[in-house]
Assembly symmetry: C2
Homo-oligomer: 206 residues x 2
């Protein structure tokens, strides 16, 4: 017996191996037979756990979506200053990338597939809500004068998202979340306010 071949964790093994392969080679380029090989089974046996390749992809992405949606919901309800909320969202995104790296890479890489799959309507709806939270938070930070004026006219959300998602390709031990937060926040914050090093002291946070 292999390592911990318990009862129903073969399904998890399929999820894990297929997520890795999808992330590395792409969904279309990864065949069911290759996934089966990586799991030590036959291609047809995969259909005992998942009804189709699309459902397998969806199962991977739904797990990650549930995680990041929970984090964003908590941040949405928290009483935070704009820049703090922005940092919290960056950290939440990087935390999600750390836990569901392969799922994030699939979502980030095979966007055409994600947009076309009928099993991912909820994931797409959540993504729209997340984008709205990003935009509101960024607008608030700009209105508070905490963001460098050069970013007022562009979609800072898309810039930050692309920059964060790209780091999903980096192995975790190479670059820490703090490093990425450091680059991104220092890059976009207004310099005069950066000299204050943090929030204004006269604002209590309760």
């Amino acid at each position: 017996m292999s390592q911990g071949t318990g009862r129903a964790n073969k399904r998890d093994a399929v999820l894990r191996e297929s997520a890795r392969l999808f992330a590395e080679r792409g969904v279309e380029a990864t065949t069911m037979r290759v996934i089966a090989d990586a799991c030590g089974m036959q291609a047809a046996s995969l259909y005992h756990h998942f009804a189709s390749k699309d459902e397998l992809v969806a199962a991977i992405l739904v797990r990650s979506d549930a995680h990041i949606t929970g984090l964003y919901d908590a941040i949405r309800d928290a009483p935070l200053e704009p820049v703090d909320r922005l940092e919290a969202m960056i950290r939440a995104t990087l935390d999600n990338l750390g836990h569901y790296r392969d799922a994030a890479r699939i979502y980030y890489r095979d966007r055409a597939h994600v947009a076309a799959s009928p099993l991912l309507t909820q994931v797409r709806d959540h993504a729209v809500a997340h984008d709205e939270l990003w935009d509101r938070t960024i607008d608030a930070a700009i209105a508070a004068g905490r963001v460098s004026p050069r970013f007022a006219a562009i979609s800072l959300r898309r810039l930050l998202q692309e920059l964060m998602w790209s780091t999903a390709r980096l192995r975790g031990d190479a670059v820490s979340a703090d490093d990425i937060v450091h680059v991104l926040l220092r890059g976009i914050l207004a310099p005069e306010l950066e000299l204050n090093r943090g929030r204004p002291p006269h604002r209590p946070k309760s």
Copy 2:
């Protein structure tokens, strides 16, 4: 004279359309028939211009490689201070991404395909030489004390590359090269400024 159905620019049209499709959907997911449709021809007719799908992909990537290699060679020979060389390399990379956006996205996205293609050995060799230039330049900037110490222990090259390449997915009018240079250089240059000093950031519970 007219830019319409000239003489040999049908081949260029195939290159352009296929690059766009490869970049958006991935190499494996883009069939020869879809490319032919986008060019107003039949799939078999593509083989009059390119011997195979791999050769088509290689032709796209070789053009971009020739461009960026020329830029890097000039920077390598120029007498520049480390940080100035670093900025020049960032700008050269972003310039390449601007001119050959689709090629960069293909190279960045379908890395497994690039690594396996026998027609891309020269492109891969150039990439190794470019990485060495990046590492030497970054090491020099660190030795000169111009880079934030937090990046001394990690692969700053990979971090910068991923961050730059990710912006290839952004439409050109949304984010300018100056914006990206601003984020990256301000993020990594010393002296270091502590963000959110005195209060722990909102961290996800995971």
